[in-house]
């Protein structure tokens, strides 16, 4: 065993110095390889971080949301429904929520208006999200007025601007008191936008949803798990599409690697010829070439991955964000929390190192079977 390790150490040592002798060629390969890893790793890290963020955001969401439907469209929950829901076993907490959308013609964007239940906001004041404050140039104490859908003008003062950390979910948020909300949208007391239910036992959630749809045939329950699953599918799908497109570049890279590995220079050929003449076997040459590939792969993988990490988490993935994030007028500015997933590293490895290895197999063999005499004579 010790002998084996010693042998590999010498082989690696030899390979490194042989790589260093042909800097230009190997640096070119390393650059392209690194770029491929960087591209794919950026996409993967970014989507994974987004997925993580979505799951994190939904952690605090209610397990079930009940919406009333009229003619297939979302409608207000009438008075009395909330009381009837409470009798379903397994429901620990229920709460009628008030929220809605408001189109602001000034910045041509939709805001989310909401009357929070856990925070009291005094009448006539607003708490707004950072994205909105930026778009309208608002600061604490400023006055702002909105024309309601009935045509009346409502004036508010800004009491607070929400912290930047929550911008991913609060960019377009406007929080107001319940009275203001009902007055602005002319919603009579007792009516709600929807009902949020918390169910403690995760295995009960489906039963609760079934009971709800039986008891309230005019409404639809939306499960948090469903939302999570949808997010998961969407992000995976986007990531998959980008990777499928990128596989063309992987193919190009594989061809490039094939070319590089088979285009042995006269000097390299002579080197292999001399090695074989002094007693190296074909197997040894293959081993040396294997180490060469392994070292280049490892270097490219590490450099590419670290660069992708910096790109995504320190430079807000400026290169791919438009494709993967989607688009909106009031787009939140956010920093993603760094998350690394072993599974993704393994997948990335399959996407990059595997094609490289497959593409260089035959050229390596071709190089290794070179006849010493033919090389040295020529």
């Amino acid at each position: 065993m010790k002998l084996w390790i010693e042998k590999q150490k010498y082989l690696i040592d030899f390979t490194l110095s042989s790589l260093a002798r042909r800097k230009a060629k190997n640096v070119g390969l390393l650059l392209v390889y690194t770029l491929i890893v960087f591209l794919l790793a950026s996409v993967m890290l970014f989507t994974h971080a987004l997925r993580h963020e979505a799951a994190h955001v939904l952690d605090g969401a209610p397990e079930v949301v009940l919406q009333r439907m009229v003619a297939g469209r979302h409608d207000l929950i009438p008075p009395g429904t909330l009381e009837r829901v409470g009798r379903i076993r397994g429901v620990q907490k229920k709460e009628g929520r008030l929220w809605g959308y408001y189109y602001d013609p000034v910045v041509k964007a939709n805001y989310t208006f909401m009357a929070p239940s856990n925070e009291s906001i005094s009448s006539g004041t607003l708490v707004v999200g950072a994205g909105l404050a930026r778009a309208r140039g608002l600061a604490v104490g400023n006055a702002i007025s909105f024309r309601s859908y009935s045509g009346k003008l409502f004036g508010f003062t800004i009491a607070r601007i929400l912290a930047q950390e929550s911008e991913l979910v609060s960019a377009d948020l406007v929080l107001m008191s319940e009275d203001d909300f009902r007055g602005f949208f002319e919603i009579a007391p007792g009516y709600f936008t929807d009902i949020a239910l918390s169910v403690v036992n995760p295995q009960e959630v489906r039963n609760v949803a079934t009971k709800l749809s039986l008891q309230f045939p005019d409404s639809r329950p939306i499960l948090r798990d469903e939302i999570l699953r949808t997010y998961e599918s969407i992000f995976n799908w986007r990531e998959g599409i980008v990777l499928a497109l990128a596989s063309l570049s992987i193919l190009a890279f594989a061809i490039f690697a094939w070319e590089k590995a088979s285009g042995l220079s006269a000097e390299e050929k002579r080197e292999i010829g001399i090695l074989k003449a002094i007693g190296w076997e074909t197997g040894d040459v293959i081993k040396m070439k294997f180490w060469e590939g392994a070292l280049v792969s490892l270097a490219a993988f590490l450099i590419g991955y670290v660069a992708a990490y910096l790109h995504v988490f320190h430079f807000s993935s400026s290169l791919f964000a438009p494709v993967l994030k989607g688009w909106a007028v009031l787009y939140p500015r956010f920093e993603l929390n760094p998350v690394i997933d072993g599974f993704q590293v393994a997948t990335l490895f399959f996407f990059t190192v595997f094609p490289y290895a497959a593409a260089t197999l035959v050229p390596i063999w071709r190089a290794a079977i070179t006849d010493p005499d033919s090389v040295m004579r020529g």
Binding site: R229, S233, G240, S247, T347, F350, F354, L361, A368, I369
Partner: protein, 333 residues
């Protein structure tokens, strides 16, 4: 649902492997038919050179298969969030009928590939390559299996539909369930434990015995296979219960979840390595009599037997540690 990164990676890997294998087959047949180490003809020289390529190629393919198995299970585990009713890999594998066959085919390919790699290693150590023909005949036998595995995997991934309501591990591995999983789950803990430790002791014992006395090599492989089956059944029957600290949750896949801090990998890695090494000891025995291998074969077998024995011991130790560390009481008194 084919646009999932890991699925694309797995399909890419299996496609490339199958393509390489199919491309290599004519050469393999050529070698099987014309190989003659005593000849100095040009044809033989070409064939000798080709064996280097084929050995490297196959080593690469089979090594990929070993990693692909891990990725396959890992992927199934990760995707469970996307199917209604799935709580772990079982649900994902159950989405269509090809899931479990694909997994089983991959496990079979895993062990056959590892045995082939052992034979290959043995062959390259001898100066006259005595096993070249055997190796490539074995390869031709392996080829259909690899194809089946790749097709099953492809069918499975193509058939993944998000709107299927799948069943979770609770229904598949419960005491009332029909089939092997249910039977293993229904086993009473004490007899199951006795059988588990007895099988492990036998597997480790035969391997260790071979290491010391260089005898009983043909026992190592079958006892390793039995050890694998009983080990899996033991995980189903009681080890999983201790990990979950729940008397009725018999799932062999949930142990891989982060919720249980990936403890399953500590169980499965030694189990798979021990079995593969044990099978490897058996795989090289038929060739131990060949004159150029009389010294090499026992040395390699001995090393494999040592590895196997250690891994069985490690597997038993890990399982016992999990049992002792658990708050669940299955056996009174």
């Amino acid at each position: 649902m084919i646009f999932q990164p890991a699925i694309i990676a797995l399909l890419l890997a299996s496609l490339v492997c199958v393509a390489l294998l199919v491309a290599a087959t004519p050469y393999a047949i050529d070698i099987v038919r014309h190989w003659n180490i005593a000849s100095g003809s040009e044809k033989q020289l070409v064939l000798e050179r080709r064996t280097y390529l084929l050995s490297t190629l196959l080593g690469f393919i089979f090594a990929t298969q070993l990693v692909a198995l891990l990725l396959f299970v890992f992927n199934a585990e990760k995707m469970s969030a996307m199917f209604v009713g799935a709580m772990c890999a079982v649900g994902t594998l159950n989405v269509n009928v090809f899931g479990f066959p694909a997994l089983i085919a991959q496990i079979v390919v895993f062990f056959l590939a590892s045995s082939w790699l052992v034979v290959n290693h043995l062959d390259t150590r001898a100066p006259d390559y005595p096993l070249v023909k055997v190796k490539y005949v074995l390869l031709l036998c392996l080829l259909p299996l690899l194809l089946v595995s790749a097709v099953l995997q492809l069918r499975y991934f193509l058939g993944l539909k998000a709107d299927v309501i799948t069943s979770c591990c609770g229904s598949l591995f419960s005491e009332d369930a029909k089939g092997l999983g249910g039977d293993a789950a229904a086993a009473a803990p004490l007899p199951a434990m006795i059988a588990f430790y007895a099988a492990l002791a036998l597997a480790a014992g035969t391997a260790w015995f071979y290491r010391i006395k260089q005898r009983g090599a043909y026992l190592v492989a079958p006892f390793s296979a039995i050890g694998f089956a009983v080990g899996m059944a033991g995980i189903l029957a009681f080890v999983s219960l201790y990990i979950y600290e729940h008397p009725h949750h018999h799932c062999p896949f949930c142990v891989l979840k982060p919720d249980y801090s990936y403890q399953g990998y500590w169980l499965y890695l030694p189990l798979f390595i021990a079995t593969a090494a044990g099978l490897g000891v058996g795989a090289i025995q038929p060739f131990a009599r060949i004159s150029s291998l009389t010294a090499i074969a026992p040395a390699i077998a001995r090393r494999l037997a040592t590895l196997s024995a250690f891994m069985w011991a490690l597997f038993a130790a890990v399982a016992s540690f999990m049992i002792f560390n658990s708050n669940l009481v299955l056996l009174e008194g």
